[in-house]
């Protein structure tokens, strides 16, 4: 899958409040000259107006009035950057616990997490929570900026202490690539240019690590998955089935299974935005014609082997964002791929203890807690384990009255839980 994504890296910032995430992104963007002159002028003017010095780098992404007044990040800011070797989509996420839902929003589409830790504080509970959520969401690579090194006089031992603590957790969470870097986001050390203050460090700068990361997109997905979004009527009476392809490639002539009906058929044509094609790759919006006459429609899924599971009851990991606790027996609406169905929480088997990653027995989930649950759905769902497929393994839970999104769900259970 590298072909489609090799030039684009999606990253999200992760870490606790005031450890310097927005300042680091501001520093990266300013030092790689991604800002237009008028945007930089506006940040300078806003800094003066708020009495926070010549240039408050956090204002590059903290663009809301309340964020600048309070000096915090409330919601995700998306920034787009390009260097000669790569394009980046950067999601600068908030650190406060009450905005965990927004952090999860930013991290759910990220390939890499840029973790920011304050060297003087190490791994706070909120940093652990964010790392845990990033791991659950399937982020496999992290770049760790151990920040505010200037405040500890560039102490190697202070740096190493944080790195040791981090490595232990990263190992438990199963990250595949971990690169730690001592930085000062405020002063720019080891962000874009190597620092003269850390002669004991021979690793890359943050920019170098991001430009050379192999994080890419998910490569584990086996089997093609095409959730049907919409049926297009063709001239002459035929129909094609439209959706965004993920997982393996799909080719004209492929034998596919229409689920949940379990009808075997063959792809006879593929169209995309640029016309008919023989083969489609992951991430493309296509519409396909099938050999068999079917009553396929929105919410059905076209798949190649290994086939997903058709089920009305499944175990999942839940990040709960609702204001009131989630309880056993609760009824919600679930959206999974293009399928929406009522569900009931039939069991809550435990809550993750963020400090130890142990599972505590509990029958409810408080706001921002992560738990293990069993769900029963009114209609059959076609699911993969989240570790196998990020699209057919993910769902959201919706409040039936307010229509608010109240949970992120992942089918199955991460290895570290």
């Amino acid at each position: 899958m590298k072909l489609a994504h090799k030039d684009l890296l999606r990253l999200a910032t992760v870490g606790s409040v005031d450890d310097g995430k927005s300042t680091l992104i501001g520093r990266l963007l300013v030092d790689t000259r991604q800002l237009f002159d008028d945007q930089l002028d506006a940040v300078v003017a806003a800094s003066e107006k708020r009495g926070v010095g010549d240039l408050d780098l956090s204002f590059v992404t903290d663009g809301l009035r309340a964020e600048r007044e309070q000096g915090i990040t409330i919601d995700v800011a998306y920034r787009y950057a390009a260097t000669p070797s790569r394009k980046f989509i950067i999601a600068d996420c908030p650190g406060h616990i009450q905005y965990t839902r927004n952090m999860a929003t930013g991290a759910s589409t990220a390939d890499l997490a840029l973790v920011v830790l304050n060297v003087a504080h190490g791994l706070k509970e909120q940093s652990r929570r964010h790392l845990c959520i990033a791991a659950l969401l399937g982020v496999r690579s992290i770049v760790v900026a151990v920040n505010k090194m200037d405040e500890v006089n560039w102490s190697e031992s202070a740096y190493q202490g944080v790195v040791d603590e981090l490595d232990t957790l990263a190992n438990e969470l199963g990250f595949e690539s971990v690169i730690s870097i001592p930085v000062s986001a405020l002063l720019g050390d080891n962000v874009v240019d190597p620092s003269p203050n850390t002669p004991w460090f021979d690793g890359p700068t943050v920019l170098h690590a991001l430009e050379n990361s192999q994080a890419g997109s998910w490569s584990g997905a086996e089997g093609a998955r095409l959730p049907i979004q919409w049926v297009l009527r063709q001239p002459g009476g035929g129909r094609t089935y439209a959706g965004m392809l993920n997982g393996a490639n799909l080719q004209v002539g492929d034998v596919v299974t229409l689920l949940p009906a379990n009808i075997a058929t063959t792809i006879t044509a593929i169209n995309s935005g640029s016309g008919p094609r023989e083969l489609a790759t992951t991430g493309l919006s296509i519409d396909v014609a099938l050999d068999a006459e079917t009553d396929a429609g929105r919410g059905d899924l076209i798949a190649t082997a290994p086939l997903p599971t058709v089920t009305k009851e499944f175990a999942a990991t839940i990040c709960w964002f609702g204001e009131a606790p989630l309880r056993v027996g609760q009824r919600l609406r679930l959206k999974h791929t293009s399928k929406v169905t009522p569900v009931r929480i039939s069991a809550l088997t435990g809550v993750v203890d963020i400090a130890t990653l142990a599972i505590d027995a509990n029958t409810m989930l408080q706001t921002n807690e992560i738990g293990l649950a069993t769900l029963q759905s009114a209609d059959a769902l076609v699911v993969d384990d989240y570790r196998d497929n990020r699209v057919s393994g993910s769902f959201v839970l919706i409040d039936e009255v307010t229509n608010a999104t109240v949970a992120a769900g992942m089918v199955g259970r991460a290895a570290f839980l």
Binding site: A4, L8, L64, R68, Y78, G243, T281, S285
Partner: protein, 307 residues
């Protein structure tokens, strides 16, 4: 899986992925909402949006109308383009006029030279209510402005049409969920992840039609507040200002009295792409008087229900 052996005709570049994502959003909102509408200004972003919408539902017709909020202060070239482009897709065009809101006494007429930019919000929200729209597609991009950089792809609006940046719905993966209660609505931004350069590269790839004012042409302009404004029915020359004949083009399209021209020799799409690639001023910074009022001008307007 052996992606390495794919023939080159099947390689997927970043424009294919942006196009696919936008088409996916268009289809998802149409499937989940009852009465969507596409907001169309005649600018390059809404032109790309309309082009993508036509692709998303081909060979069928657009399953929603196209709506223009007409301030009455448009560039004539843009109105010509609007009619041409909408007709080419066979869509139904709804025009909601700010003048009607003025005539009904809902907003105060700022006079023939005054900006009607902010008044559009009232006309827009009234039209959404009148037609019962529950979703409105817009061409806004996150790279345009720091408040837009914070907004979800599906952005919830309450019964008063307001955006509350502190209470945005979580938007995980690509699970866009668009259900609203009666009276509320969504704004949907399929071009959220596109940059200005992506837009131009896509227009070039697709060889799209655009309003002629995007390309370099000679025009009478005056310099006001560091912006080149086109002299015409909505911009009168003030004492001390001198008219100059310059080779200019427009980098964005808004009302004639608050959209500045840029000095440019770019007469073709490729020349525009070269120009945009090396620009050191943002498109809104270069051309929009409406964003210069305050630090959070866009956020303030968006909270009220602006595009």
């Amino acid at each position: 899986m052996t992606t390495e052996t794919l023939p080159t005709a099947h390689t997927t570049d970043h424009l294919d992925l942006l196009e696919s994502h936008a088409i996916y959003i268009l289809r998802e909102v149409v499937a989940e909402c009852e009465r969507p509408v596409l907001l169309f200004s005649g600018g390059k972003d809404s032109a790309v949006l309309l082009h993508l919408a036509a692709k998303a539902f081909a060979p069928q017709q657009l399953p929603f109308p196209v709506m223009h909020i007409d301030t009455g202060q448009n560039f004539p070239e843009v109105l010509e383009y609007r009619d041409r482009a909408v007709q080419a897709t066979g869509a139904r065009l709804v025009v909601a006029k700010v003048q009607d809101s003025i005539d009904q006494g809902k907003v105060i007429d700022p006079g023939p030279m005054g900006s009607r930019n902010r008044l559009q919000t009232v006309t827009l929200l009234d039209a959404i209510t009148e037609h019962g729209f529950d979703a409105a597609f817009g061409g806004a991009r996150r790279d345009e402005d720091k408040a837009r950089a914070k907004e979800r792809i599906l952005s919830f609006r309450d019964a008063f049409g307001q955006w509350d940046p502190r209470q945005q719905r979580p938007e995980l993966w690509q699970l866009y969920q668009g259900k609203v209660n009666p009276g509320e609505h969504l704004r949907a931004f399929p071009l959220s992840d596109w940059t200005e350069l992506d837009i131009w590269q896509y227009i070039e790839r697709e060889q799209m039609d655009l309003p002629t004012i995007y390309f370099a042409h000679e025009r009478d302009v005056i310099l006001r507040d560091n912006m080149w404004l086109a002299v015409g029915p909505f911009v009168e020359v003030r004492p001390g200002e001198t008219i100059k004949r310059m080779l200019v083009r427009f980098r964005t399209v808004g009302d004639a009295n608050c959209t500045g021209a840029v000095i440019s020799e770019a007469k073709t799409l490729n020349q525009i792409i070269d120009e945009v690639s090396v620009a050191n001023v943002s498109e809104r910074g270069a051309t929009r008087a409406d964003d210069r009022f305050s630090e959070t001008a866009m956020e303030d307007r968006k909270r009220e229900g602006y595009f």
